[in-house]
Structure formats: C-alpha cells, structure tokens
C-alpha cells in the first residue's frame, strides 16, 4: 500500500517542478534575453522550448502516476467487489473517477470497521457465554469433588447457592427444601436469615412453597400475585423455580435483585433449572443418608450400639423402670486421653484399644445390661434395675478391669447417673451425665 501512496511518489513536488518548468523558467529565460540582448536568438528559443518540454514531461509523469493509482485502486475495488456499484455511475473525468473510487473504498472500509465492531461485540458475548458455561460446569465439577471427598450435602448445597449467585449475578439466592410436612430447611446467600424466617411464616409464601411451581416477576412479567419479595426481601425482580428430585418437587429456589427495568433472560432460567436439578439430587441423597443413619444401630468400629440407639434403649428401659417402680442406672465412661492417643498411635491403633476396652466391659457385665458407644471417646452402659449405689460398684469394678489391660496409658473417667434420682428420661439422664463428666476430670 505504501508504494501506491501519493506521498511516496511526491506528487506535490513534481507538480511544482512541472509548473515551474512550463511557466516560470521559460518566462525567466525570455525576460533575461530580452533585457540583455534586446532580441531572441534561435538558441534562446531552443532553450525555452526544451525547458517547456521538460515541464510538460513532468506534468505527463504526474498524470501517469495518478492514472496508475486510479487503475490500482480500481483493481482493489474490483477485488473487494465494489466495482459493480462503480460501473453503474458513468464518469469520464479521471480525477472524479479517482475521487469516486476513494469514496467507495472509504465507505467499504467504514462498512468493514462496522462489521468488525459487530463481530467483536458478538465475540465478547460469546466469550461471556463460554465463561458462564465454564463457570457452571466448574461449579458442578467442584460440587462433585466435594461430594466424593465426603463433604456433607448441606455444605455442598451452600456452595452451589453461593456459586449460582455469582454466575447469574443476583443479589439474593435462597434455596428452600422440604424436610417434614410443613418444615423447610434453607440455604441462603445475600440476605439475613432472620428475614427468611419471617418469610417462612407469611401465608402467601407458604402457598408458593406448597405449590412449588415456576414464578417470575420482572419487567416482562409484571403480574404480581404477591408482595413478599418487596416487603420482606427488598427485591424488585424475583425468579422462583421448583427443585425436583427423581420423584417429586422437594423445594423451591428463589433468585432476585433490585435492578430497574430488569428482565430475567432465558439463559438465567436455564442455569437456575440446571442448578435446581443438581440440588434436588443432592437433597434426595441427603435425606436417604439421614434415613440410613436413622436405621443404623451399631457403631461400625466396635460393633456395640451407636449413641442414637443406646439412648433409644435407655428411654425404653426408663419407661420400664417407671412401670415396675424399679431404678435404672447409667454409666458414662470416658477415655480422657483418647485424642492424645489418636495423635500418638494413629486412628486405627486407638480404635483397636477402644475395641479392647469395649470387649473387656462386655465380658464383665451382665448379659441383660446394654452397652453402646457415645461420640468418639465415650462408652455408655445401661444397668437394668440397678440403683446408684449398685451402679457405682459396677462402674468401679469395670474401671479396675479396664485399668488392668496392657494399655497402661489409659486415663478413664466415669459418671454414674440413675432414674429417678438424676432424671426421668434418657435425655435428662444423658445430659446430667455429660454435665457431671464435663466438670470432673477423673472419677
């Protein structure tokens, strides 16, 4: 392009030279001869003629250059497909033709710039969409990773709510999940939990939770069936979507902001739907895990009853004790240095020691008494029809037996409680034992 430019061929300079040779120089020579010799010789006429010829030769060169540029421009125009428009206009004047070519070329350049702008805008949009999709998949992949690491479903759901808020750029996200008939668990982001508690008591919102269907309030969907989003949540636009498990709708997700003239895009809805689908599966998994936990009665490491079942049995035994006017004793043993043992020996070895203790207790207690593990470091024993004095005797005897084990590093504490002296339910009895054990380091 540089070689075709006017500056390169020095057109202005050449024109000046040509003009000078064709006009000023012959005139100057003529004046010189007339002043000095008063007549014109053949030689002078020959010199003047030669100068004028050189001047015209320059002019011819200039115009040849212009014609060359015009031809090249026309070829360029032809190559970019603008010649049709040019051919339609009949122009004989070369300069005008050149002007026209330049005009067409500059309009072509303008069009191209516009086109380029449009393409870059579209690219930007596309990049945004790609980033959003990458964010969505990365969020889901992260959630998968958390799930495989054994993170609780509650934590993963909270993570998804946080990420959803970032991805669709909303002020508030709240995901409600049905726990029992009218009890809802929720995960929130960008709002005070106290407001959500108020919302859960609003009748119109309760209806929404019961219906569990899609609702949108924004610029495009202004038909408002309710006002809680403004009154309680302080949001102008909201999108509510049902959360589905494999069988049924298990909850509702609410996303909202306070932007003026805002409409939810179809992409927003798609993203929310995708997240709700994943959340629904997680919630279902959570409920199933809870159910499995409820059904489990044994501690997997020691094989004795777990805390939940032991306390259920304690409640049953207390009821029986009340019916037959008998006492019911409960011993709570604690390995005081359980966690330091874990540090020194490792989890597996500590659990082996724990199992040995459990076996020692089991082999020295009555078959009708019930033993279970409480938390990580405690053992509970229900002593049927034993009062406090008798329970204390048994506890001391068992402690002696435990202390006689080879594991001489063990520090054991115990507390004895009894129905009716310390409580009339498993909850009361257990709390009393925990409290007393908390205040005594070694019994």
């Amino acid at each position: 392009m540089k070689k075709d430019s006017l500056s390169k061929i020095n057109l202005k300079k050449r024109l000046w030279v040509a003009f000078s040779f064709a006009t000023f120089a012959p005139l100057a020579i003529l004046v010189y001869y007339l002043v000095n010799f008063k007549t014109l010789s053949w030689f002078a006429i020959l010199v003047v003629g030669f100068v004028i010829f050189v001047g015209w030769w320059f002019i011819f060169n200039v115009f040849s250059s212009i014609l060359k540029i015009q031809n090249k421009s026309f070829k360029t125009l032809e190559s970019i497909g603008g010649s049709l428009k040019f051919k339609e206009i009949e122009i004989e004047n070369e300069v005008e033709r050149l002007d026209m070519v330049f005009n067409i070329l500059s309009s072509k350049v303008k069009e191209s710039v516009e086109e380029l702008k449009k393409v870059s805008f579209k690219t930007e949009e596309l990049n945004k969409a790609i980033t959003q999709k990458v964010n969505i998949f990365s969020a889901i992949l992260q959630a998968h990773a958390l799930f495989s690491q054994g993170t609780s479903a509650q934590d993963i759901l909270q993570f998804l709510v946080d990420r959803l808020r970032e991805i669709i750029n909303m002020k508030t996200i709240v995901a409600f999940f049905k726990k029992k008939s009218d009890v809802f668990d929720y995960f929130l982001c960008g709002i005070n939990p106290a407001r959500v508690d108020i919302l859960l008591n609003k009748e119109d919102f309760k209806t929404i939770l019961k219906e569990r269907k899609e609702e949108i309030i924004d610029k495009a969907h202004s038909k408002e069936r309710f006002t809680f989003h403004k009154d309680i949540l302080g949001l102008k636009n909201i999108l509510m979507f049902p959360i589905k498990s494999s069988k049924e709708n298990v909850g509702v997700i609410l996303a909202g902001n306070s932007k003026e003239d805002f409409s939810f895009s179809s992409e927003d809805c798609e993203i929310v739907e995708l997240f709700t689908h994943y959340m629904g599966i997680l919630w279902e998994h959570n409920l199933l895990s809870e159910r499995i936990q409820d059904l489990e009665i044994y501690d997997s490491l020691t094989g004795v009853y777990n805390e939940k079942f032991l306390l259920e049995r304690l409640d049953e035994e207390i009821k029986r004790a009340v019916t037959y006017r008998r006492p019911c004793g409960f011993i709570l043993f604690r390995i005081d240095n359980y966690y330091s043992l874990q540090k020194d020996l490792g989890l597996v070895e500590t659990e082996k020691v724990f199992k040995k203790i459990v076996n020692e207790i089991k082999s020295n207690m009555r078959p009708i008494d019930i033993i279970g593990r409480i938390g990580e470091d405690k053992i509970g024993i229900i002593l049927i029809e034993k009062n406090k004095r008798q329970s204390k005797e048994i506890a001391s005897f068992l402690k002696e037996k435990i202390s006689s084990l080879k594991e001489n590093k063990l520090n054991i504490s115990f507390i004895v409680v009894e129905t009716p002296l310390d409580g009339e339910s498993a909850f009361q009895l257990f709390n009393c034992a925990q409290k007393k054990l908390g205040t005594s380091s070694s019994s």
């Binding site: 004790a321 009340v322 006017r325 008998r326 006492p327 009062n387 406090k388 002296l421 009339e424």
Partner: protein, 148 residues
C-alpha cells in the same frame, strides 16, 4: 426381671395367706404377661384382693408396720427432702424426720433399691412403713401440690 433378693414373690405370699387362690394368681400372671404391670396392682384391678389386704399381708410377712395415710400430716421440711419425681417413681412419701432417721411410707417395702436411693439422696437412715399405693398417690398429690 423380678429382683432375686426377694425371698418370696408377693403372689406366692398372697396364695400362702389364702388371700387369693392359686387359680387367681395364675390368671393375674397371665394378665401381667400380656399387659405388663405390677402383680399387686393387677390382683387389685381384677378384684381378687383389696390394696389394704395386700399391704397388711406384706406388713405381717416382713414385719413392716402398716400405716394408713388418711389422717397423717406431713411437714414441708420433710417433703423437701425427697423430690416429687422420686416419690412418684417408687410410690413412696416421706412422713417424718427424727434425728438421722427419715420415716417413709412405701407401697413395696421390699424395693431395696428404692430405700438405698433414699439413703443416697438424703444421707439419712430410712425407716419404712407400708401403705397402699392409692393412699400414697393421694398424699403425693395433696402435699406436693400444696407446696408447689
């Protein structure tokens, strides 16, 4: 499930003392097996004997004095020694405290664990009187409600 330290079961004593027949005892045991509960209460519920008869029988057998509670006055200080839930659980009521001895009325004087629990709770020696469960329940209702 019956405590082994009881030399004889209430039912056997009642049959021995001809308060109920062996057949009635059998019937009462059947009901107990089906529905659960205390044998003395079942015998009373089935109408084979009265509460008073059973209490007097226990008193005679084991030498615990029988004490009807109808006209007995219990002081607030004595009531404070035993919480109401312990009284309801073991069907007993504290009556009096003289020196280091707490007198209680109980429907089952053979409930050694209950007596020991009272000793543990009050750090006093326990003197036992036998009374009927309905008398004790009425007294609990009357005195502990008064002091609520």
């Amino acid at each position: 499930m019956k405590p082994e330290k009881k030399e004889k079961l209430i039912g056997e004593i009642l049959v021995e003392r001809e308060i109920i027949t062996p057949h009635q005892l059998e019937r009462a045991l059947e009901v107990q097996q089906k529905e659960g509960g205390l044998i003395g209460e079942i015998i009373v519920r089935l109408g084979f004997a009265t509460e008073e008869k059973i209490a007097q029988c226990l008193s005679f057998q084991y030498g615990f004095p029988y004490l009807p509670l109808e006209n007995y006055e219990i002081s607030e200080e004595v009531l404070k020694l035993v919480p109401v839930n312990v009284c309801q659980h073991y069907c007993l009521i504290p009556l009096d405290k003289i020196g280091n001895t707490l007198t209680v009325a109980i429907c089952d004087p053979l409930n050694k664990e209950a007596i020991e629990d009272l000793e543990e709770l009050t750090s006093l020696n326990i003197q036992v009187f036998v009374s009927t469960s309905s008398d004790i329940r009425k007294a609990i209702e009357k005195y502990y409600k008064q002091n609520e």
